[in-house]
């Protein structure tokens, strides 16, 4: 089937950052997002997600978008995270319905 190239951004951040991140993503014009909650993880700031208390868990935010919007999201994420916790990756994907993203 015919497919079209897009960018896939994956943000792994503390759940505390979820709502500002989603607000930022909405503002960039992205057509949507998907969130996986209740992850566990380890990074420069130690272990996270094994405690039910204190909302100490990670979420993974996935956005499929055009390169232009991808860049806006990368910048927005840096603005929100600052030196905070989280990692960001970008990769190439093919999508079926170009008009959706």
């Amino acid at each position: 089937m015919q497919t079209f190239p897009r960018k896939k951004i994956e943000l792994i951040v503390e759940s505390a950052y979820l709502s500002p991140m989603l607000a930022m993503i909405d503002a960039t014009g992205a057509t949507g997002y998907t969130v996986i909650r209740d992850l566990i993880g380890r990074g420069r700031h130690g272990e996270r997600g094994r405690e039910a208390l204190g909302e100490n868990s990670n979420v993974l935010i996935i956005v499929i978008c055009t390169p232009v919007i991808a860049d806006r999201i990368l910048e927005g994420s840096q603005r929100i995270l600052g030196d905070g916790f989280g990692i960001v990756t970008v990769s190439d994907v093919q999508v079926l319905r170009a008009e959706h993203f």
Binding site: P20, E51, A52, G54, G82
Partner: protein, 323 residues
């Protein structure tokens, strides 16, 4: 006498379930309470605490007497972070964001510590004012404001809107459940209590056991981080509770609270948040080190309060009231 009381407290199923969790965590057992269960239990506990307060208000009536108590609660939560901050920043040389965030935790309260103390008092046959529950709710969040103020004083940076902060302070989930439960209890009174007592009253202690098991597991996991804390910080985690309890004692006496009321207020002051405040500090003061505030609050102050603190504050309150 006080040892006796302390022993009663230590040998309750509540504290022993906490200890079981501690041990299981320490030996790295695979025991684990699923997160949704722990969250469900905490919703249940807060709603139950609210309702029980409301029913007792409905029974006893509440006059203008409660108004100064509620104001005092807000004041304590706003002001207690100040001495904590001063000690951490100037005594221990802690960086500003972390000192501010830790201070915010000690202005707020721990609902499980409160529930354990309530269970202890019931066990001793000591009652308390129904509006104490309103004080609990009111003390939860003002400390967040002080913490953020302390963290940002002199700087211009801020990455959140004032509106978000207000929402967190006023409409925090715990606050909603406590205040909401209180109003529901008060509006429905004895008739409402009769309808839902088996669920919200009879099960309370057992559910608290399960929750304390989970907290024990979490504290044990935090325990590993203890070794990385400077001794000064651990000393702070042990000394801040009695100091804050003294403020609670004074306030309680001024307000003319009963023995149970004074004990609970001391304990509220002495306890430190590990649910609402950490979540707020993550966002509002991202440069503060969570390993420090979570570990102090959970692994130092919480165990101290529920084991030794409860009987200690009770003994002091009894002595101060000449009861």
């Amino acid at each position: 006498m006080i040892l006796d009381v302390a022993a009663t407290n230590l040998l309750s199923p509540l504290i022993l379930c906490f200890v079981l969790g501690l041990i299981a965590g320490a030996v790295k057992s695979d025991l684990e309470v699923p997160a949704p269960i722990a969250k469900g239990l905490s919703l249940y506990l807060m709603l139950a605490i609210g309702l029980k307060g409301g029913w007792s208000l409905a029974g006893s009536g509440v006059g203008w007497a409660a108004a100064p108590a509620l104001l005092a609660a807000a004041g304590l939560s706003l002001l207690l972070p100040l001495p904590a901050y001063a000690f951490l920043r100037f005594g221990l040389g802690q960086d500003r964001p972390t000192a501010a965030a830790v201070a915010a935790h000690y202005g707020s309260i721990s609902i499980v510590t409160f529930a354990s103390a309530q269970a202890f008092l019931t066990q001793q046959g000591i009652g308390h004012e129904g509006y104490i529950v309103a004080m609990v709710a009111i003390m939860e969040t003002p400390a967040i404001v002080t913490g953020i103020y302390l963290a940002q004083r002199g700087t211009t940076e801020t990455n959140r809107h004032r509106g978000d902060l207000m929402r967190e302070v006023l409409f925090n989930g715990s606050v909603m459940l406590l205040i909401g439960g209180l109003l529901i209890g008060w509006l429905t009174g004895g008739r409402g209590e009769a309808e839902v007592k088996p669920f919200f009253v009879d099960l309370f202690k057992g559910a608290l056991c399960l929750f304390l098991l989970d907290i024990g597991l979490t504290v044990a996991r935090r325990g590993a981080a203890l070794r990385q804390l400077k001794a000064g910080l651990i000393a702070f985690g042990l000394m801040m509770p009695p100091v804050a309890a003294a403020a609670g004692l004074g306030t309680g006496l001024l307000l003319g609270l009963s023995l149970g009321g004074v004990t609970l207020l001391m304990l509220l002051c002495a306890s430190a948040s590990y649910i609402a405040v950490p979540a707020a500090m993550r966002l509002a003061v991202p440069k503060a080190d969570p390993a420090i505030y979570m570990t102090l609050s959970l692994a130092v102050t919480f165990p101290f309060n529920i084991t030794l603190g409860v009987p200690l504050y009770f003994a002091v309150a009894r002595w101060a009231l000449g009861a």
